[in-house]
């Protein structure tokens, strides 16, 4: 039986001992967490955003280039590189031993989303880097000026091919943990993150491109937002008690803000298509929405790990279900 706050702080009044009404009865060890909340700082939440932004931008660049929209291409390429650099910074900054960043390339582990992600990011980085540098070709001396554009194009398409992986592997990265609300959300998280990446890429397009080129960005915004909103709705409503952390506290505020900004951004993108200013604001709104969504998902997971009820109750329910189904309490299941 949990009795609310496990440990009285110093100088707490009598009222502090009064148990809160627990949502469900469960037992725990002095209310201490069972799984450990991630030690990551918001660097990682920011990385989720910048990684998605890089992916969305790369797709934007490729689409723009392929359909003859140079502004989208340019903005996409530059943003992809910028977001990638930011991503790398966030990733390294969050390491306990930043000087050992290169150890990430020691192994290539399919069981580790972070290992896979590192390889994806590396390949993406190379491709996006080349394609962004190629934008500067006109400023460069002769041979480079001639050589770079085709390389840039190749890099651009290479990056675009990798972009969906870059955008969605982070969802697997979060889901492949014991953090209850992350793991429970694994079917939807990739869709949310993919959608969010598209929306943020679209946001870049809306900011950077003239209305004449911005049509695809608007459509990307609508589709991305649809993925994101649908996924988030599922996560917030179908995970039983594990949906709760996404609707409460800081995570709930982030996600609500993200939803509002998404709706605002999409509405602006669709309705304000003739105004460069409205479009740019809509783009900014979409970028902010993407950021808020990632922070919300991040915080929701952290909150679910910090309270043992999110570990104990679902596991107890699972055991009870198995017992009801007459299955052995442990069901061996091969992959």
């Amino acid at each position: 039986m949990s009795r609310g706050s496990p440990r009285g702080g110093r100088g707490r009044g009598r009222g502090g001992d009064r148990p809160m009404v627990p949502p469900a009865e469960f037992r725990s060890y002095y209310g201490r967490p069972i799984v450990r909340p991630p030690v990551w700082h918001h660097d990682i939440a920011a990385y989720l955003f910048t990684g998605g932004l890089a992916a969305g931008s790369a797709l934007l660049a490729a689409g723009g280039d392929a359909t003859g929209r140079p502004a989208l291409r340019r903005a996409g390429r530059v943003t992809a590189l910028g977001a990638l650099v930011a991503s790398t910074y966030f990733l390294i900054n969050d390491l306990g031993r930043p000087a050992r960043f290169h150890h990430m390339l020691r192994v290539a582990k399919p069981t580790s989303p972070m290992s896979m992600g590192t390889w994806i990011l590396s390949a993406f980085g190379a491709a996006a880097g080349v394609s962004a540098v190629a934008e500067a070709a006109p400023l460069l001396p002769g041979p480079l000026r001639r050589l770079l554009p085709p390389l840039g194009t190749a890099g651009q398409y290479g990056a675009a091919v990798l972009a969906p992986a870059l955008a969605t592997y982070t969802a697997v990265l979060l889901a492949d943990t014991a953090t209850p609300s992350w793991h429970a959300a694994y079917p939807e998280l990739p869709l949310i993150f993919g959608g969010s990446a598209l929306a943020s890429g679209a946001g870049v397009g809306l900011i950077a491109a003239p209305p004449s080129e911005a049509g695809p960005a608007r459509r990307m915004a609508v589709l991305g937002a649809a993925f994101e909103l649908y996924g988030a709705h599922r996560v917030e409503t179908t995970k039983g008690i594990l949906s709760e952390p996404y609707t409460r506290g800081r995570a709930g505020r982030w996600l609500r803000a993200g939803r509002a900004l998404t709706v605002l951004g999409v509405a602006g993108a669709v309705l304000g298509r003739r105004s460069r200013v409205v479009s740019a604001l809509s783009g900014a709104s979409l970028l902010a929405a993407s950021l808020a969504t990632r922070f919300g998902v991040f915080d929701g997971g952290v909150a679910s790990a910090a309270d043992p009820k999110y570990t104990v109750i679902p596991q107890r329910e699972r055991l009870a279900r198995r017992a009801e189904d007459g299955q052995p309490v442990r069901d061996p299941r091969a992959t």
Binding site: R7, R27, S28, R36, A55, T111, S112, D176, P308, Q315
Partner: protein
């Protein structure tokens, strides 16, 4: 590598490429004889040169360690308990558990009514050295690796402190050391067992609550012990983490408990997150395809 590489019963060392692996080694921690002396905590620190964990009176019975952490690789839990343990699967009607913060409303406050049902449970917790170890699976550097003994070890010369292992552990064991940045946990004294010695904690344990040995033998011994205790009327004795068909493929360090796992701070039904990894990758792939399709539609579709 076999079909059960991610989930299900498995001998993990051969699966991890150890061709002539010795028998799998592990811990059996029998809490029915634990006296809560904490020799395991100290012996571990003396051998592994683990820093102290701070000087805080936690008020959680005699537990001032709090839990396993980067600086505590063994942790002795203390549970002061009145009322008989309940076997309910859900634990919904579990008996009152004294949390160290007595309210004013606990029953039986009448000094004329002797308390005969009081229990003080103690349990030395440790890394489980899972057959399917979430921490190991997700480690991006190969710092965490499966040893030839089937144990799971962080290589301090490799770890770059990415922190991914920490939320990946279904038991909340592995942790980052703040001033050091790297992840730390029990190594099952990899350096000692390689030389045929027992781990420091098991060596010190005065009552043999912590037993080290070949996992297969420990499992047999544990089963006998449970039967023995049941014969002595200790019906609440049960094993935890011994079953190779559980959610982590069985623990390399398993326990005999006298109450439900969550009472000791253990998850009642842990599952390695990686069990669902193939499904996750599939979902990610679908989402990626959806993204690509969305981009194609966006660029090739008509003007909205």
């Amino acid at each position: 590598m076999t079909g059960n590489s991610l989930y299900g019963p498995l001998d993990p060392a051969p699966d991890a490429g150890w061709t002539d692996a010795p028998p799998r080694m592990g811990f059996f921690t029998d809490t029915s004889v634990c006296i809560g002396c904490k020799a395991c905590e100290v012996a571990c620190k003396e051998w592994n040169l683990v820093p102290d964990d701070g000087f805080d009176l936690l008020g959680t019975s005699y537990d001032n360690t709090g839990g396993l952490s980067a600086n505590s690789w063994r942790h002795v839990a203390f549970i002061e308990q009145r009322g008989a343990p309940h076997g309910d699967v859900l634990g919904a009607a579990a008996g009152p558990q004294f949390l160290g913060m007595p309210g004013r409303d606990l029953p039986g406050r009448d000094p004329d009514a002797p308390r005969t049902d009081f229990r003080w449970l103690m349990m030395s917790n440790v890394c489980k050295h899972c057959t399917h170890a979430g921490c190991l699976d997700v480690c991006p550097t190969g710092s965490l690796f499966r040893t030839e003994f089937g144990t799971v070890v962080v290589q301090e010369d490799i770890c770059n402190g990415c922190g991914y292992c920490i939320p990946a552990c279904p038991y909340g064991v592995i942790d980052q050391r703040g001033d050091d940045g790297r992840a730390w946990k029990c190594t099952l004294c990899y350096d000692r067992i390689g030389d045929g010695l027992s781990p420091a904690c098991a060596t010190a344990c005065p009552t043999q609550s912590i037993q080290y040995g070949e996992l297969s033998q420990l499992r047999e011994r544990a089963a006998d012990r449970v039967a023995h205790l049941h014969g002595q009327g200790v019906g609440e004795a049960r094993l935890y983490g011994h079953d190779p068909s559980d959610g982590v493929g069985g623990d390399g360090a398993f326990f005999l408990l006298l109450d439900e796992p969550e009472v000791y701070g253990l998850p009642p039904d842990p599952i390695v997150p990686t069990r669902d990894l193939p499904a996750m990758w599939r979902r990610a792939g679908l989402a990626g395809l959806a993204m690509a399709a969305a981009v194609v539609v966006s660029f090739l579709g008509g003007r909205p």
